[in-house]
Amino acid sequence: MSPPEKELTVMLVDNEPARAAIVEQAMLDSGYRVIRRLENAQNLTQAVTESQPDMVIIDIESPDRDMLENMSRLTKDNPRPIVMFAEEDDSKYVEAAIRAGVSAYVVDGVQSGSVKALLQVAIARFREFQALRLELDSVKTQLEDRKVIEKAKGLIMKHQVCDEPAAYQALRKLAMDRSQRMIDVARNVISVMELLGEKR
């Protein structure tokens, strides 16, 4: 890439500090200047006016996007929505950005090649973050599930006066007989036992 393109200045608006940090680092590694990072957009308009970035990258789920939409209308110097630059035959990268949750605003006159390159960096990091979050969510769910199964096992052990492997086997058999997931059976067991417990 030629040096002038590297001079692109970027402003990041993201209420997810962890993601913002990842994206910023990736931008720096690719030679872009992140001149400002905002976590919320309380002073977004002012920040854009002061810092005059070539490009603003903002989380598509940010309610503050409509603020930027208005700015771009006011003067030609303000960044305009990336979707305005999406030509019919070249809209794939914009679509990819929207799918990844990235929206961008670009000032007039920035070469579309540089915009695309920078957007690629952001898209990649947004996706990576998304994958990480999904993984984290699934780990969390697994942990939660395990806790529920443990609790059900404990209740069965107490109720049936049996040891842990026997309680586990009982749960497993129930799940197989009913073609249900262990976690669902465990939840049922807990609610039934609690109901019985209350009546007793």
């Binding site: 308009t45 598509i60 789920e61 940010s62 309610p63 503050d64 996007r65 409509d66 603020m67 930027l68 939409e69 208005n70 700015m71 771009s72 209308r73 305009r80 929505p81 979707v83 305005m84 630059f85 999406a86 809209s91 914009v94 679509e95 929207i98 799918r99 929206s103």
Partner: protein, 396 residues
Amino acid sequence: MNITAPNTVSLQSQPVRVGFIPLIDCAPFVVAHEKGFFCAQGVQVELSKEASWASIRDKVAFNLLDGAHMLASLPIAASLGIGTVKTSMESSFTVSHNGNAVTVSNALYQNLVKFSNDVQDIRSGAALKRFIASKKPTDPTLRFAIVYPYSSHNYQLRDWLAQAGIDPDKDVQIIVITPAQMMSYLKQNEIDGYCVGEPWNSLAVEQGVGHILVTGYDIWGSTPEKVFGVNSLWAAQNPDVYLAMIRALNRACEWVDDKQNQSELLSLLSQPDYLNCPAEQLIYGFNTLKPKGQFDWPLEAYQRFSGADINRPLPNYALWILAQMSRWQQLAKIPSLNQVVEQVYRQELYYQALGLVCPEGGSWKITKQQEKAFLAAVASGNVRLHPDGVLKGICF
């Protein structure tokens, strides 16, 4: 919380993806979903809460959503490609009329009272005009907030200011803030006033943060506020599903307007998946009851959701919106007005969906020769909406 209605045949393989913004007037979408009206029509719908109008527009344009709860002017703006890539969007069903108002801060209100103690002068903006004229050049410019540049809020505020002889681009500053943040900006004196939908006007009065000056109804009469807007490509590919959704929304709108359902409606809307707020604060969107302020809120000013006059697309309103866009320099070039209106506000599908006979249309059309004169007359304030609203037409 899906309620599946019995004896229904599914019309499609993929659920229809519909976006909405958590505002009071998303009620018909929430109700059609939660009360099983979509299901009863054989349609699977996936509702998706969105954070901004820009996000709704982009996702519908790039097929991440098939349709959405939209500002009535949004499908027009998208179809013209203003502020976005040009994408054909259309609407055949209006979900609500009215609901907006102009509210000002206590400080500004005190100043207005200094310049006139006549209610009419305050409501008409005459007092504001006098106050602005009295300001020194070094005084800060008054700031008003709206929710989106291509919205009824923007056009109503601008029209109200212009009618009072105030230039919305020179005499005041107009910025965009999300509805939920309006009150805190007003409290912190970051802005002097705003034009927004309910409950943010009534709440400001109730909490002593501001005063309502006029309603959107005072300014324009009864006019469409939100529509069910869809990507035209999707509409063309899924005609049966589309018509079934219009029927479901029509049913939902009747349900919303039925006072008997109000407490259930408020509790549905207040849920975390939707507006995520106390049910009590939503009542202002559906009630004639307004908090005690300086002025009475006219009875007809509150939102209406149901009735043929409310739900059918009103092409003359689309024409009016196009004229507003032209008036406030949002159009780079003037398109063929009739053509845009016909493509975006498709009345015939509304009648078809509900099994009604489509009346002879086209009376709203203006000739190519009249276009320029029409736009100029709207821009100068000489052409108005009928005081009863767009149903009675545009007054030349």
